[in-house]
Amino acid sequence: METFFSRYRNITILVAILFAQVLGLAVQVRRSSDSQSARLIRVWAVGAVTPFEKSIVWAQNSGSHLWRNYFYLRGVRQENRDLKYEIERLRLEQVRLSQDAAQARRLQALLGFREQFISKTLPAQVIGFSGSELSRAVYIDKGSNDGVKRDMAVITADGVVGKILHVYSSASLVLLIDDQTSGVGAFLEGSRLQGVLSGTPAGGVVLEKIMSDEVVQPGEKILTSGGDRIFPKGLPAGVVTGVSRSSDAFLNIRVRPAANLGKLEEVLVITQQEEKPPPADQNTSLRAVDILANRLPSVPDQPPAEAGHHAADAQFPVPGAETNRATGEKPANAQAAAPGGAPAKKPVTESAVPSSMQQPAVATQAASKPGARKTVTPKPALPPKRSQTGAASPVPSH
C-alpha cells in the first residue's frame, strides 16, 4: 500500500525545507540583530569567498602598481612641478588656517568643550560586496586579527562610508550609510539643524527628522554630528540634492553621499577615538584673568630689549599687529591678534592694567615684526601667570 509520504515525498520535503527556513527566519527576527546564533554559516561562507576576493584584489593592485610606477611615467615631471606649486600654496593656506583653528580651540577650551579626535586609523582594501541589492554592505580585508571591532567607523578622504557590522578573523563586513538599516547622526552645516542620515530601500540616502517648517536648501552640506557615538563630529556626510514635503511632520531631504559608495576601493577604519579638551599648548597660558585682561584696554610698549627677547617665541603672523604697524599705531591689545588671543578689541588707551598683563602684549607685538619667524610650531603664546593671590587659577570647565 502506498503511503502518504511516499506518494507526496517531494512536496513533503519541499514543505519541510521551507518550514525549517521560515522557522529559522522567525528565530533570527525575534532575537536582536547582533545575535551570534547564525554566525557559523556566515563564518564558513565568508571564509570560503574572501580568500579568492583578496587574491584577485592583490593581483589587480600589484599589476596596476607595476604599470603605473615602473612603466607608465609619462607626464610625471610636469605633475611633480604642479604638485610643488600646490604645496607652496597649501603652506600659505595652512598658516592662515592654523590661526583660525588655534583660536577655535581656545574658545572651545573656554567653554569646556570636549573634542573628539581621530587618533588612530587603519587603511583597508574593499574586497567584496554582499551580493544583494537589499543588503548594502561591503567586505574589507581587515578583521579582528588587525584590531577591527564592531561599530568602528569607516571613512574615506571624501567622507563617511559606514560602520563595521560583522568582524571575522581576516575580513569585516561594513554596513554602508545607504543601507536602509543604517543611521548616522548628522546636521546641516549652514542651519545647524540636526537629523538622522539613513538609506532607502531603493539605495538612496535621506536626512530624516527635520521638521517640515524648517528651511533647507539644495546644495547645503551635511556633516556628522557625533551623536551616534560612532562617527566623530564634523566629517562630511553628504550634500542636499532635493527637498520636498512629506505627508508627516518632517521634510523629505534627499542626499548625495560625500563618499562615492558605488566605487569604493580603499577606506580607513577609525580604530581609536579620543575625547579630550583641546590641546594643552593652546590653553596652558589662558586663565580667567588673562581672558578678562583681553577685554580691558591694552598696555604701553615695552622696552626694545624685552621685545627682542620675546621675538624668538613668536610663532604666527599677526594680522592685527601688522595693521597697526602699517598705520603707525601701537598694537592694540596685541594678544587678540596672536594665536593665543581673543578677537581684536577696542583701540588702546592707557589704563590700570596690572603689570603681569604686559608681557603677552609685548611678545605678540614682537611677533609682528618683519624679522619674526613664521612657523606653525605650537607653543604657548602667553606665559603662565599666577593670580594675585599667588595660586593658579585654571579656566573653569563647564
Binding site: 521551507l18 533570527q28 561562507a45 554582499s130 537589499l134 554596513l175 558605488g262
Partner: protein
C-alpha cells in the same frame, strides 16, 4: 484515454516518455565549485562593474542544476544551499534567498522532468519565468515575514529578468560541457 494536460502542451518540445528524458549528473568538484564561483562572482564583480548587480548568477546556476538533474529533491536542496550561502554574505537574516531559491529549484526541476529545456528558446523562457518567481517569493518573504522595506518596480524587475535570461544562454552553454550522462 485521458491525456495529462502537461503532455498535451509539451508535445512539440518534449520527449514522449519519462524514460527518454536524459538525466545528467555532475562530478563533486563541479557540484561544489560552480555554485561557489557563482556566489563569489556575484559578490565581487559589482564592485568593479556596478551594472553587474542586475544579474543573479546564483539563481542561474540553481536553475541549470535543477533542470539538468531533473530531480525535485536535488533541485530543492541545491537551491536551498546556494541561497543560504548567499544569505550568509549579507547582513540580513539567513533564509531569504534560501526560501526563494528552494522554490525555484523545486519548480525548475519539476519542469525539467516534463519539458525539453535543452534548446535556447526554452531556456530563455524558463529563466525569464523563474527570475520573476524568485523575485516575487523574495519580496514576499522579506516584506511579509521579516518586515524589510523592499522596493518593487515592474520595469526594473522585467529588465533584470530579460538580462538574466540573455545571460543564461551562454552560461548554460558553457555549463553543458560539465555534464556527465548517467
Amino acid at each position: 484515454m485521458r491525456l495529462h494536460p502537461f503532455r498535451l502542451i509539451s508535445v512539440p518540445i518534449t520527449y514522449t516518455s519519462g524514460e527518454q528524458i536524459e538525466v545528467y549528473r555532475f562530478s563533486i568538484p563541479v557540484t561544489v565549485l560552480v555554485p561557489l564561483a557563482a556566489i563569489f562572482l556575484q559578490a565581487f564583480l559589482p564592485l568593479r562593474f556596478p551594472f553587474f548587480s542586475v544579474f543573479e548568477l546564483p539563481l542561474l546556476v540553481t536553475i541549470f542544476f535543477a533542470v539538468a538533474r531533473r530531480s525535485q529533491v536535488a533541485g530543492l536542496m541545491t537551491g536551498a544551499l546556494i541561497g543560504l550561502v548567499q544569505d550568509s554574505l549579507t547582513h540580513q537574516p539567513i533564509g531569504l534567498y534560501g526560501i526563494a531559491k528552494s522554490v525555484v529549484g523545486y519548480g525548475a526541476s519539476s519542469l525539467g522532468v516534463r519539458l525539453d529545456v535543452e534548446n535556447a528558446g526554452a531556456r530563455f523562457l524558463l529563466t525569464l519565468f523563474f527570475y520573476v518567481v524568485h523575485e516575487v517569493v523574495f519580496f514576499t518573504v522579506a516584506r511579509g515575514l521579516v518586515g524589510l522595506q523592499v522596493a518593487w518596480s515592474w520595469p526594473h524587475e522585467m529588465g533584470s529578468a530579460f538580462a538574466n535570461a540573455a545571460l543564461a544562454l551562454p552560461l548554460f552553454f558553457l555549463l553543458d560541457r560539465l555534464k556527465q550522462k548517467t
